[in-house]
Amino acid sequence: MKLYDGWKIITGLIVFAAFFTLPIWLNLFSAQSKVKPRLVYPIDARQCVEDKDYMNHYHMDLLNFWRDSVVRMNIRYIVRNGNFLTHNGEKLEMSLTRACLKCHSNKAEFCDQCHNYLDVKPYCWDCHVEQKGSLK
């Protein structure tokens, strides 16, 4: 079989493949990708509302569930086996600012680490306020 204008076609394909995969190469060799996420965990609290593995993979689903539960169904506290879940004697609310941030108090050292690494931009913080009122 003879491929007419073979070298033109092959070069074209190589150029196309290189161009198409350019973002992968750029990210692979950029300085940013060398920075691995480094999460700072709270020292004083040992127990999260779910185990670490679940939170790693599904915290966004949990937060979405909390959002709908609180705003739309007016169920605001975390209930386990018919009892309110407590933290330091206080009932735990399903709330980003009133529950999560009580322990994970530094957003930059926790949330942002993975979100920046993966280049995801959750819009939680467009409205919800980082503790200390530092946002302006």
Binding site: R67, V71, R72, N74, I75, R76, Y77, V79, G82, N83, F84, K91, T97, R98, D126, C127, H128, V129, E130, Q131, K132, G133, L135, K136
Partner: protein, 255 residues
């Protein structure tokens, strides 16, 4: 070989059992949700009464407005076109535009009255919302889900009381002191009074009711005959804004 008659018997019997099991499992799961322990203040129908006379004794008082707006991160633009308001004051003749009696008690027309979302029993704003970002809760509060609001402003047009404000600009730089316990809003979202749904859930009264120094705001359950609001409504004559629109507003003005 099954004949037609037996086939129909078997199918309808099986279907009946399936439906019955589904119905009972529904009943069981309903009972389970009822096991969630209750907390905070609850009511069958939240409503508010505003004592116009008491309020008028201190015409320059803005405690309720300040308390509400600082708690809920309401921005302050110095431009009436961008204004965001949850609770505000206006003249009686502007608020009660369809009060057509020519000879009202002296001065009433120029008194200032407190205005806020009326949490209507038949709210026109929720009917027009295309995303169900606003709806009437079972306890009567006309609630908003800012996550869902797409900023179409149908509700702003539908509300006959001007209770809804639209964020034309990013509100954050215009909030004097951000309360980190409550979210701000973004540009392109409608906002209004929510009868402090989040405070009620924690067992606290609405911020404006708590802040009023002359106790001119009465908040309570309209369907509880023993509640303070029912007693005061039975005692004193009250009017509501634009009742002829049959929106059934639930903010009562004691005049």
């Amino acid at each position: 070989m099954i004949d037609r008659r037996n086939f129909l018997k078997i199918v309808s019997f099986g279907g009946g059992i399936y439906l019955a099991s589904k119905w009972t499992s529904n009943l069981i799961s309903q009972n389970e949700t009822q096991k969630v322990p209750q907390s905070g203040l609850t009511a069958k129908r939240w409503a508010m009464a505003i004592d116009v006379q008491k309020c008028e004794q201190t015409p320059n008082c803005k405690e309720c407005i300040l308390a509400c707006h600082s708690y809920h991160n309401v921005p302050e633009f110095n431009n009436p076109k961008d204004e965001i308001k949850w609770i505000w004051k206006d003249k009686f003749h502007n608020a009660f535009i369809t009060q057509e009696n020519q000879y009202l008690p002296k001065g009433l027309n120029h008194q200032t009255v407190l205005l806020l979302c009326n949490h209507c029993d038949n709210p026109p704003c929720t009917n027009v919302c295309p995303t169900k970002a606003t709806w009437k809760r079972e306890d009567g509060i006309v609630m908003m889900d800012w996550h869902r609001c797409i900023g179409c402003r149908y509700c702003v047009a539908a509300c006959p009381y001007g209770s809804r404000s639209f964020n034309w600009r990013d509100p954050r730089p215009f909030i004097k002191k951000i309360n980190p316990e409550f979210p701000t809003r973004t540009r392109g979202v409608v906002e209004k009074c929510t009868f402090c749904a989040e405070r009620l859930a924690r067992g606290e009264m609405p911020a404006c009711v708590e802040a009023c120094p002359s106790k001119a705001l009465i908040f309570g359950d309209l369907e509880d005959p023993g509640s303070e609001i029912r007693q005061i409504l039975a005692e004193r004559f009250s009017i509501r804004r634009k009742p002829e629109l049959s929106t059934s507003p639930e903010v009562y003005y004691l005049v």
